[in-house]
């Protein structure tokens, strides 16, 4: 439990006040979104994986609600309810409780009720400038409440997406690899399959059906499936339509005809995911990789370089920054830049602060287009734990 002693409660309160002061001075508006949130939005955004870490409950009228597992989504809702516009530019900050079930038990660095102090910056189209602003403000805040020794891991989910987009592979394969990016094991399996035996995507589908579909135009594919079901007396039930099934099956048949992903491409993807180095060295390494492969990925790498320049301009000490291509994989809603602040005095899986870009998140709360959004939050209990030592 957080704040289990009066002393700890007071220390957290004091720290929170300091942090909020710094955020407000930087012109971030302090907001307090609702603690109880509709469960739907969270489950849609983060998927079922987080459900067993979220306190979901049903109210007397049957609505599915939850105790907010973070404050980013609630702040997006607040922003969207206020402005209902994809172009409103606003900066927000907050300090409030969030709730997550801890399967291995509540601990001082992983309490089930914890306080997040965070900032969100919506609507700015100066992407790298906004990212630098957020990172610089978090570093400044951490330092001013007493954090001295730390290291920052950065990543960029967008570079990997761009890399996949430049490869000459079927769209469905690309989609599959993108989806599996955040699950290293499943990703490895997918890459392994697609680069060795893509034809094996079809076991169990009757051969005569495959033959018929192979020669069919898309307009007749539906009829073929309709006839097939009728002939085999298979009842048609459920929300998926014949056209969906036809599309999916036709795409599978098409994909099976394609050559597997080449060894060169596979090695390039693996080499990219292995990149882990101080930011400048990482940039150079990525350029080398691409040059050797003959692919043009200059767009994504220009963004990377521009970001580094902006970091320097914002006064960020580059020597504390490491780039890791693998990083950002566990966090589904990020769409580009990601970072985490680590202290050597707590373990590597327990960052003190973290954040990044999530341009698609506003869609989950109602927006009809992407909204540029970048933000970050501090785990205040962990910060206090590191700054004050283990005396609480």
């Amino acid at each position: 439990m957080s704040a289990e002693t009066a002393r700890k409660f007071q220390a957290l309160e004091d720290q929170a006040r300091n942090i909020l002061n710094i955020f407000c001075t930087a012109h971030y508006e302090a907001v307090a979104p609702s603690i109880i949130q509709p469960a739907d939005i969270f489950l849609d955004v983060v998927g079922e994986d987080l459900r067993n870490r979220t306190y979901v409950f049903t109210d007397p009228e049957g609505a599915e609600l939850c105790l907010r597992p973070d404050l980013t989504v609630p702040t997006c809702r607040l922003h969207w309810q206020r402005y209902n516009s994809t172009s409103a530019t606003r900066r927000y900050c907050y300090n409030g409780s969030a709730f997550r079930f801890q399967p291995t038990g509540s601990a001082s660095t992983n309490p089930r009720e914890f306080r997040q102090a965070g900032i969100e910056y919506f609507g700015s189209k100066q992407y790298e400038v906004a990212e630098s602003e957020i990172l610089a403000l978090i570093i400044k805040t951490l330092k001013s409440v007493g954090l001295q020794d730390f290291e920052i891991r950065i990543g960029d989910v967008g570079i990997f997406d761009t890399l996949l987009n430049t490869l000459d592979i079927p769209a469905r394969w690309r989609q599959r690899l993108k989806m599996q990016f955040c699950r290293p094991n499943a990703f490895r399996t997918a890459l392994e399959e697609l680069s060795s035996r893509p034809a094996a995507v079809l076991p169990g589908v009757p051969e005569d059906l495959i033959r018929d579909l192979s020669n069919a135009k898309s307009s007749t594919a539906e009829q073929i499936i309709f006839d097939y079901l009728g002939h085999h007396k298979i009842e048609f039930i459920g929300a998926r339509t014949i056209s969906e099934i036809a599309q999916n099956l036709t795409a599978m048949v098409e994909d099976a005809k394609r050559d597997p992903i080449s060894v060169t491409t596979r090695e390039l993807l693996e080499a990219y995911l292995d990149v882990e180095a101080p930011v400048r060295a990482a940039g150079a390494r990525m350029r080398d990789l691409l040059q050797a492969s003959g692919l043009s990925l200059s767009g994504a790498l220009d963004i990377y370089d521009r970001r580094i320049k902006n970091f320097t301009a914002a006064g960020i000490d580059l020597s504390k920054l490491y780039f890791s291509a693998n990083f950002g994989r566990r966090l589904e809603y990020y769409t580009g830049f990601v970072f985490e602040v680590h202290s050597p005095s707590i373990d590597a899986d327990t960052p003190i602060a973290g954040g990044g870009r999530y341009d698609k998140l506003m869609r989950a709360v109602g927006a009809t287009a992407d909204v540029p959004a970048v933000g970050a939050m501090i785990h205040t209990e962990r910060l206090l734990h590191v700054v004050e030592g283990n005396l609480l």
Binding site: E48, M179, T189, I234, F236
Partner: protein
Amino acid sequence: MNKNLVIGVPSKGRLSEQTCEAFAKVGLHILKIGSKRGYRGEIEGIINLEVSFISAAEIANSLITGRIHLGVIGEDLIREEIIGANDRVKFLRKLNFGHADVVVAVPDCWIDVRRMRDVESAAQTYRRHHHRRIRVATKYMNLTRQHFIHHGISDYRIVESLGATEGTPTSGKADMIVDITSTGETLKANNLRILDGNDGVILRSEANLVASNTIKWIPETREIENEILSQFDLK
């Protein structure tokens, strides 16, 4: 201090009868104390043992909260209700009844879906067409989640279903299901098909005699546990 060993036995239905039969077969006769509708009992000839007749779901809960030492319960419920089951309880003996599989089933007309991987690709098409995640009806929320994570699938939503789960694809409440089945007949009657091989079977379950690791064991209760186990092993 109470030195009695407490064993939880299903209070109602087929599972309750089968438990008594299975115990009787190895010479352990479970008897009710007092009223036939009461919830307390004993095993003939074993002193310092109490039988507690409770509902199956409560047996899982009582094992981890340490209210009972031993319990008779289906593996499906243990795996579903207890996070980290392998550390918190010990599976002692399989009891050879209550056989049922927890399976993943889809409408038979989904001829493009035979494995979990195909579910993933169907889920993508589904999202484009229906603007929502594909829905899985189940009462096994944890088992479903683990199975889907294992196969790298995240683009789905669980619809909690406490009864008649196999009817949800037809009624439109869900698109596919995770449910328990022993013969598969009900699934077939509802135009559903189990996914191929291991992709379709999350767990092959049967009733188990299970010990709590949470409760405080003392030499006296261990002795009674051993007495019961030796009866099973004689057989």
